[in-house]
């Protein structure tokens, strides 16, 4: 392709001539494009892809984090699969995924549908709802620790016995706290996604339903929910994959305790590697985490039955 195309005259900038030249420009691989993409590719390759491959490689080694890295075959994997804390972390992280979804999805949909209403004040509510998303997990965890202090927190302020329970010291109660705090932090985000989706539903559908005499609840069940299907897939994917990453919050709030009650897999991985100096075992746990993450993401998409990329959320 060395023949230079006759440059089309400006007057020919109509469909025919212009689009062929446009196509032609796209048909030639250009060095400049490769160079433009190179910085991002290098960064991504070294600090995201390489670690992903590296974590698989490291799971076949023994390394204390400081000394030499020794290839030891399946030794670390044996350790990973025989420790009780691996299974504890695995069960807890899956419990976290399910419980998170069950608490956040219904509330987010209801709140989102409410916020999608026409009144001005609902926009103000949306602004205020967003505040928890701005705070760091560390700040949120510290705040809740103080709030739940049996002597000086809400217990003494609101004089409600329910706040005076040993919320962070009881292996069952601590789960309610963790789920509540995560809901507090992330429901606003999913609410916003649903709000945008509900606003996209054509008003004419509701009008037709009203003529047919369908009440508000019936409209919600027969129109709103089915229309939110793709949004639910998107939101759920983010939610379940996100549930694998609630490291910071739990690390600061409970340190995995009391005992091992909240020692979910990512936390177990951190403590094993960076406190217990067993980096090989920690890498094995990380591989499990990646597999679970991919499995969950694919599972949600599969349940949705269709490619979630077809989501109707564009530019909401």
């Amino acid at each position: 392709m060395t023949t230079t195309a006759p440059s089309p005259l400006p007057s020919a900038a109509q469909d025919g001539a212009a689009s062929t030249s446009g196509r032609r420009a796209r048909d030639r691989p250009q060095l400049s494009h490769v160079l433009f993409a190179l910085p991002a590719l290098v960064m991504f390759g070294v600090f995201a892809l390489l670690p992903l491959i590296g974590v698989i490689a490291l799971s076949f080694t023994t390394w204390n984090g400081i000394g030499p890295i020794e290839f030891t075959g399946l030794t670390s994997w044996k350790e990973v699969l025989t420790r009780s804390s691996t299974w504890n972390g695995l069960v807890l992280v899956l419990l976290m995924v399910v419980a998170t979804w069950l608490t956040q999805t219904p509330l987010s949909i209801l709140l989102g549908a409410f916020l999608a209403g026409p009144q001005r004040y609902r926009n103000l509510l949306a602004v205020l709802y967003f505040l928890p998303l701005l705070l760091s997990s560390a700040a949120i965890a510290i705040t809740y620790k103080s709030l739940l202090d049996p002597n000086f927190g809400l217990a003494s302020g609101l004089n409600l016995d329910v706040f005076a329970l040993n919320w962070l010291g009881d292996t069952t109660l601590v789960w309610y706290v963790v789920l509540f705090v995560i809901a507090w932090q992330f429901i606003p985000f999913h609410t916003l996604i649903y709000q945008g989706a509900v606003r996209q539903i054509p008003q004419s559908m509701y009008e037709a339903a009203q003529i047919d005499g369908a009440g508000r609840v019936r409209q919600f069940l027969s129109i709103t929910l089915p229309q939110l299907k793709y949004t639910m897939i998107t939101s759920s994917t983010l939610m379940v994959v996100g549930a694998l990453t609630y490291f910071d919050l739990i690390f600061v709030l409970t340190q995995g305790g009391p005992g091992v009650a909240t020692r979910i897999l990512p936390l177990d991985m951190y403590l094993t590697g960076f406190r217990g100096n067993e980096m090989g075992v920690a890498s094995g746990l990380a591989v499990l985490l990646v597999v679970i993450g991919l499995g969950l993401a694919l599972g949600v998409q599969r349940l949705g039955g269709k490619d979630a990329n077809a989501s109707q959320m564009e530019g909401a």
Binding site: S7, A18, S19, S21, G22, R26, Q30, S32, H33, V34, F36, P39, A40, L41, M43, F44, V46, F47, L52, G54, V55, I69, L107, F114, R122, L125, Y129, L131, P132, L134, S136, S137, A138, I140, I142, T143, S146, L147, G157, W184, L192, A197, R216, Y230, T231, T234, L244, F251, M269, G273, F274, M279, A282, A286, L289, G293, L294, S311, E314, A316
Partner: protein
């Protein structure tokens, strides 16, 4: 239209749930230790005291704030530039050459960051960057790229082809087309990505925890954590630290809210 009592009740109830902890943090920040232990926690102190904020600022808080700003800027600026250039290639480049590139970055969306911390720690040590602020920027940039490229490329696809063709006719190079046409046309998406990444970087806890060690390299979330370890019983001071650390990001939100919300929800729906 009948009023939606259920939705309304739920909506306002959730507002109370959202605001109560924030209210608690704010009023507690302005209480002395004595007031805090001797008064009702949900009643503000009259008069409010600012001694906690002074104590927080004296505890090197300014340094942590500067560290957080350095890391956020050092992460966001290169990341936005790299994402923008890569998006240009993906949208305007040779299809067969760049669709694998696009898919590669899409794959990146599915990598849980937590799972890569051991190799990242190893790489940072080998690069002799352990315990430096740059160590926090590099993985931050890498993991910010996938979503940023997705959002920017989607916005660049909406630029009419005729505009690029008109610049071809004027004999512009790809470089010029990128900076003179694509950049202004995608600037809202760039702002969205920048604000969102700044938020992530500002609140990041894991990388600082693993990749730094000296107190003078701490960013705010990590400083907060060690702070509450030291001042466990002095809750008003800890709450003042929480308040101060959140102010910059709330300001950023006030400025960039429109971009942040639309961008986050649009990016999430793709």
């Amino acid at each position: 239209m009948k009023r939606n009592w259920l939705g309304g009740t739920l909506g306002w109830l959730w507002l109370v749930v959202v605001l109560l902890p924030i209210y608690f943090v704010l009023i507690t920040s302005f209480k002395s230790m004595a007031t805090y232990f001797g008064s009702n926690p949900v009643v503000p102190a009259i008069p409010p005291v600012i001694e906690n904020f002074i104590a927080v600022l004296e505890a090197d808080f300014g340094m942590y704030l500067v560290n957080s700003v350095i890391v956020a800027v050092g992460t966001v600026v290169p990341m936005v530039i790299m994402s923008f250039m890569a998006s240009y290639s993906i949208v305007r480049g040779h299809r067969r050459l760049f669709s694998p590139v696009r898919n590669l970055f899409l794959l990146g969306l599915a990598i849980p960051v937590q799972a890569t911390i051991v190799p990242i720690y190893l790489i940072i040590i080998r690069l002799h960057m352990y315990d430096s602020l740059v160590a926090l920027m590099l993985p931050g940039i890498a993991f910010g790229l996938p979503l940023s490229i997705l959002i920017i490329a989607n916005s660049m696809r909406d630029v009419p082809k005729e505009l690029f063709e008109a610049m071809d006719i004027d004999g512009c190079t790809e470089w010029q087309k990128m900076w003179r046409l694509a950049l202004p046309m995608t600037s809202p998406a760039l702002v969205t990505v920048a604000v969102y990444q700044a938020l992530l970087s500002w609140n990041g806890f894991l990388f600082p925890l693993i990749l730094t060690q000296s107190p003078d390299k701490r960013t705010l979330p990590l400083a907060l954590w060690s702070f509450q370890g030291e001042y466990a019983t002095n809750i008003p001071v800890v709450m003042a630290a929480v308040t101060l650390s959140s102010i910059p990001i709330v300001i950023l939100y006030a400025v960039g809210r429109r971009y942040l919300v639309s961008g986050m929800t649009a990016g999430a729906g793709k």
